[in-house]
Amino acid sequence: MATLSRHALWALVGIFGAFALAYVALNRGETINALWIVVAAVSVYLIAYRYYSLFIANKVMSLDPERMTPAYRHNDGLDYVPTNKYVLFGHHFAAIAGAGPLVGPVLAAQMGYLPGMLWILAGVVIAGAVQDFMVLFVSTRRDGRSLGDLVKSELGPIPGVIALFGTFMIMVIILAVLALIVVKALAESPWGTFTVGATIPIAIFMGLYTRYIRPGRIGEVSVIGFIGLMAAIIGGGQVAASPTWAPLFTFTGVQLTWMLIGYGFIASVLPVWLLLAPRDYLSTFLKIGAILALAVGIVFVAPELKMPSVTKFIDGTGPVWAGSLFPFLFITIACGAVSGFHSLISSGTTPKMIENESHMRLIGYGGMLMESFVAIMALVAASIIDPGIYFAMNSPLAVLGPTAASAAQVISSWGFVVTPEVLTQTAAAVGENTIIARAGGAPTLAVGMAQIFSVMFGGTAMMGFWYHFAILFEALFILTAVDAGTRAGRFMLQDLLGTFVPVMKRTDSWVGNAIATALCVATWGYFLYQGVVDPLGGINTLWPLFGISNQMLAAVALILCTVVLFKMKRERFAWVTVVPTIWLLACTLTAGWQKMFDPNPKIGFLAQVSRYQDALARGELLAPAKNVGQMQQIILNNQIDAGLSLFFMLVVVSILFYGVRSCWQAYRVAHPTTQEVGTPSTASQGAAA
């Protein structure tokens, strides 16, 4: 009876959630309220957390609350500190949540909100949260060592090096695609460019303040910085309205690209306290604040979804990104459903601060559910916009034509009725010259957030402010990621090059640092530039590569967890990691293959190569190339992208090979072969016996 009543409440949550989900899924023809999606998502999260994560904690991994954690074993008050469960949850969530969960769902909305929503929910419960949780467990039981280290010790040195190379290339693609989002948002936008540019002097002032005026006072300097940011948004509006100032802050995509590349180099060789650290304070607090505000806003405003639940573009002909639902929807939404990058965080700072093994369930599984909820909110924000505006913002210029009239005509022909006036009025309402062809997610999300926030505060008069607030909040943490990522890439590169040229390894050598930084910036800068001049709009090329690489890393992490389960002699539970691994392998390998060999030049890189080569042979020029040199550049770019797809596929296949081998070796031995640090508590030994 007691067990029955214990589950009764959860059964109610389940029934309620199933009802909301059915309402969302089976609704045809009429608009529905965003709250249905929120209710369905939260119910799924609660049930998954209560039952599935508990099953993983107790049965699959047998968490041991009595076992000493590295935070106690190596307690130094600095890196290794036993930390309150909820405080550490905040730390972990702030570290995993970035631009990814905000962008992917926005791009995926071209197929309607339903496919994206179902994948976000299914993906997080079965794959994403499982990965974060289990990597955290594996790392905590091994003194908080990093993913690369763990792959090396559990699978062997060769897969370890392969994983390191793979991680470096993922980093490069992430930096390029993040920087591309900023370029797309700021091109031809004096308001946005001024506001984001102003964050640099604001951050430098904060850096000097925390270094010399009031050392270490993070709270007060963040308040000062926040006031500066608000002033920068208002000032940006003045700049955009001024005929003398506006042209000074109006740049093309290519100009912004060179500025970002220069910025990336300078910012990553400056001392960290001057620019990186203070901007990190702003971006972290603004990110958490904006996410909370968005959650409150959606519940409070309860907007109607204007996007159909499923659009005709599920056949793969969509303008935002090309390719059919399988595998490309599952590649487009990586963060929010399953993100391999989290395995680096789960094996980074968090495992060194776990106070008790039983806390890992909330921090690992729960933290990822929270990130998934951010993805759901981004999907909602993209779906409350008029579909006509959504497609005007996210389709490439080559498809839409140069004017609002041509864009409106093209989009109306797809069945999403929109007039040129609506497009120009929307641009004017948010204080921009144009909103056409701004793929990349950030501007679309900003329009959605501006609609929600302006209902709560300020009405339509405040739309421009809220739009640029949203742009600022995304650009801020993207720039932080670019800066921090370039530094991380530099260290990785110095490590790799150091094996051949020993002097490169010396991180105190000015020349070595500069060379490695320049190489790292040049690599991501190349992909960024390529994306900006890409005939299909950049996002169409780079975002799938990012998705493939990110989920490939997730597959690597889940293979590692599978090997550990086999070594623990718990192979009867291996399906927990094997099922998502198979799914991720199917998605990444199919997508990688199609990106290389698909005969449609919108999808396949090699098809695009031969399209341009054929044109060149006939002596023709294809847009956007204006001369033979640019034609050859596009050919080379696509060849490199095809090579990268191949590289990612080879990485994942070789790790799979080594993973299966390690599982087989562990399976043949009769006793556990794990190499964990520390000893199980007496209580758990008794339970095991």
Partner: protein, 64 residues
């Protein structure tokens, strides 16, 4: 009631600082006093700089 509120405030402050990579200074001092009474304890300013360097200088990436 006021005790609970002040404890909540303390945890919120700790959480906010740890989000940007700064662990609790009092915990550090208590740890040093308890386990390494022979070693010098960093001042708050030195502790702040040491942690800043450790968070950003070491080169772990940020999430997407």
């Amino acid at each position: 009631m006021f005790n609970d509120l002040s404890r909540l405030g303390k945890y919120l402050g700790q959480a906010a600082r740890l989000m940007v990579g700064l662990p609790d200074y009092d915990t550090y001092v208590a740890h040093m006093k308890a386990t390494h009474p022979d070693r010098p304890v960093m001042s708050y300013e030195a502790f702040f700089r040491e942690r800043q360097e450790a968070r950003y200088g070491g080169g772990t990436g940020r999430c997407c």
